[in-house]
């Protein structure tokens, strides 16, 4: 546990010193927050049904964030080690594969969720200010499940895919490229979901959540199996 903590602390310290990572991580939430704010602004003087549709679209933005932010961080966390030549000394320490994998995943997932939830709080405050109240269609069980169940699951999915790609590709540029493509399947259900123009409903949330739990379990199993120090060390050139 101490080693895991040490790894996470070091990773965050390092990431905070990379301006591009900071800008990249802040830009997306600002963009999505701006879109969501625009949806709320548009929803001021429309009938309740149209208002619900606009706010559902805003929710989609909050589900994109936990996918996009961690994938960049997760890929960098491995690529960065290789680029700086620190991977071999790191793998020579008593850090286990599980600790290394989990540490790298935590480093990517936690800031993504923190940013997503913070932005969601700002969104709710904006809704309260602009609409005078939070509509009953927003703080429902499907909405809350989306934010607090789907968002972490999507985030974990993105990280798992990125780590899997990182540990199997032989070139850092290819890792960036592939990990970007790998999160596309995550967005498909969200696009389909929003395109239906129905209110967020429990059936979809639970269905997608269940699917993601299953998918994440399979991915975690595969990722830890292929995330072996020997493979990572000898394949990355």
């Amino acid at each position: 546990m101490e080693r895991l903590r040490a790894l996470v602390r070091k990773e965050w310290e390092e990431l905070f010193k990379i301006k591009m990572v900071i800008y990249g991580s802040v830009f997306l939430p600002l963009l999505m927050g701006g879109f969501a704010g625009f949806m709320v602004w548009t929803a001021r003087d429309v009938p309740p049904e149209a208002q619900a549709t606009l706010l559902n679209t805003a929710l989609m933005y909050f589900l994109i964030l936990p996918v996009m932010i961690p994938s960049t961080l997760a890929v960098y966390s491995i690529v960065g080690e290789k680029e700086q030549g620190t991977l071999e000394p790191l793998l020579a320490t008593p850090l286990s594969d599980w600790e290394l994998f989990l540490g790298k995943a935590v480093v990517a997932v936690v800031p993504a969720l923190a940013l997503t939830w913070a932005l969601f709080g700002v969104f709710l405050a904006a809704v309260q200010v602009m609409l005078g109240q939070i509509p009953s269609t927003v703080l429902t069980l499907p909405w809350l499940l989306s934010m607090f169940l789907l968002a972490p699951l999507l985030s974990l999915f993105a990280v798992l895919v990125s780590m899997l790609v990182s540990s199997r590709t032989s070139d850092p540029r290819a890792a960036y490229q592939f990990s970007g493509l790998a999160v596309v399947p995550t967005l498909i259900p969200l696009i389909v979901y929003s395109a239906r123009f129905t209110a967020v409903n429990l059936f979809f949330v639970v269905g997608e959540g269940g699917g993601l739990i299953l998918l994440n379990a399979v991915l975690l199993y595969i990722a830890v199996r292929v995330f072996q120090r020997e493979q990572v060390l000898t394949r990355w050139k």
Binding site: E2, R3, A6, L7, K10, E13, E14, K17, I18, Q84, G85, T86, L87, E88, P89, L90, L91, A92, T93, P94, L95, S96, R229, E230, L233, T234
Partner: protein, 305 residues
């Protein structure tokens, strides 16, 4: 402290290390010499549990690299071939991170002690990116030492350093051995190997030779003495019949004689030459360099590549 038994590693159809059997005792610096691709780094990686052997077995500090890799990792310090650092983090932060990973109980004092020993304490607040190559190499050695391991693997510790930095690194390695640490030193620098290593293992995928530098020289070339004469005496080539004398040659005033043991045989040799009427100006023992030994071994071995 380190023992390998028929250690073998293949990458697909390519054999990197084949049937390596050797042993290093406590406090010994064992040199690994060999050309690029000879299997030196692969051997170190197997011993540091970074790569699993394809077959054979190795024990480090009494622990099997196959069955107890975590224990082995705690015991050893490693200086990798290309030592990298988190360049944006400071010298102190880098070292503290590795101290924590190695489970050092009080990382702060351990980091301070190690940085002071390597002369880096004054630079502790600087990002690693600002350090010269020589200082980074010293920091890499500090990283290998921060958890006070009894066994060290040093892969090309002076590669790419200027002569002054290389000298300071070599001096430091010498000090480490006097702390009773066991060191496996991979190097291309033959003078360095000769200066630091008690024994040298010459690798070319397989073990070509393993002995002390002096024994390797003697075994391959024998021992020779040069006798400088006042006058050239070609007749001595035919008349110098002594049981301990091997090949004899004359080049101008210098008579070169192969003998078994110069300390024992030189007085008898000088006496015989004087008896034969030779006027001797001086006698000098001829040393073969380790480079000559190495080239002879490499030329004679049939390993690939």
């Amino acid at each position: 402290m380190i023992r390998t038994e028929k250690l073998t590693r293949t990458f697909g159809s390519r054999i990197a290390v084949e049937g390596l059997t050797l042993e290093a005792q406590e406090g010994e610096i064992l040199g690994l010499l060999g050309p690029n691709g000879a299997g030196k780094t692969t051997t170190v990686r197997m011993l540091a549990c970074l790569l699993a052997p394809s077959s054979g077995e190795a024990w480090v500090g009494g622990h099997s690299v196959l069955r107890e890799p975590q224990r082995v990792r705690r015991l050893v310090g490693i200086l990798t071939e290309s030592p990298g650092f988190y360049k944006r983090l400071t010298v102190e932060r880098n070292l503290r991170f590795f101290a924590e990973l190695y489970g050092v109980k009080e990382p702060g004092p351990a980091v301070q002690r190690t940085l002071e020993r390597l002369g880096l304490w004054d630079r502790r607040k600087e990002p690693v990116a600002t350090l010269s190559k020589g200082l980074r190499q010293r920091l890499a050695i500090a990283r290998a030492l921060v958890h006070d391991p009894k066994i060290l693997f040093l892969d090309e510790p002076t590669a790419g350093l200027d002569p002054e930095s290389a000298r300071s690194v070599r001096d430091f390695i010498g000090e480490l051995a006097s702390d009773r640490r066991t060191i496996l030193l991979c190097t291309h620098n033959l003078a360095e190997a000769e200066e630091l290593c008690k024994r040298i293992a010459v690798l070319r995928t397989r073990l070509v030779a393993l002995d002390t530098p002096a024994a390797l020289k003697s075994r391959l070339f024998g021992t020779r003495v040069a006798v400088d004469l006042a006058q050239p005496r070609p007749d001595l080539l035919a008349s110098l019949h002594l049981p301990f004398v091997g090949e004899v040659s004359l080049d101008g005033h210098t008579l070169t004689v192969a003998v078994d043991d110069p300390e024992r045989d030189n007085p008898k040799l000088v006496r015989r030459l004087v008896e034969l009427g030779a006027e001797i100006r001086y006698v000098q023992r001829l040393e073969r360099t380790l480079e000559e030994v190495y080239l002879e071994l490499m030329g004679g071995s049939d390993g690939a590549p």
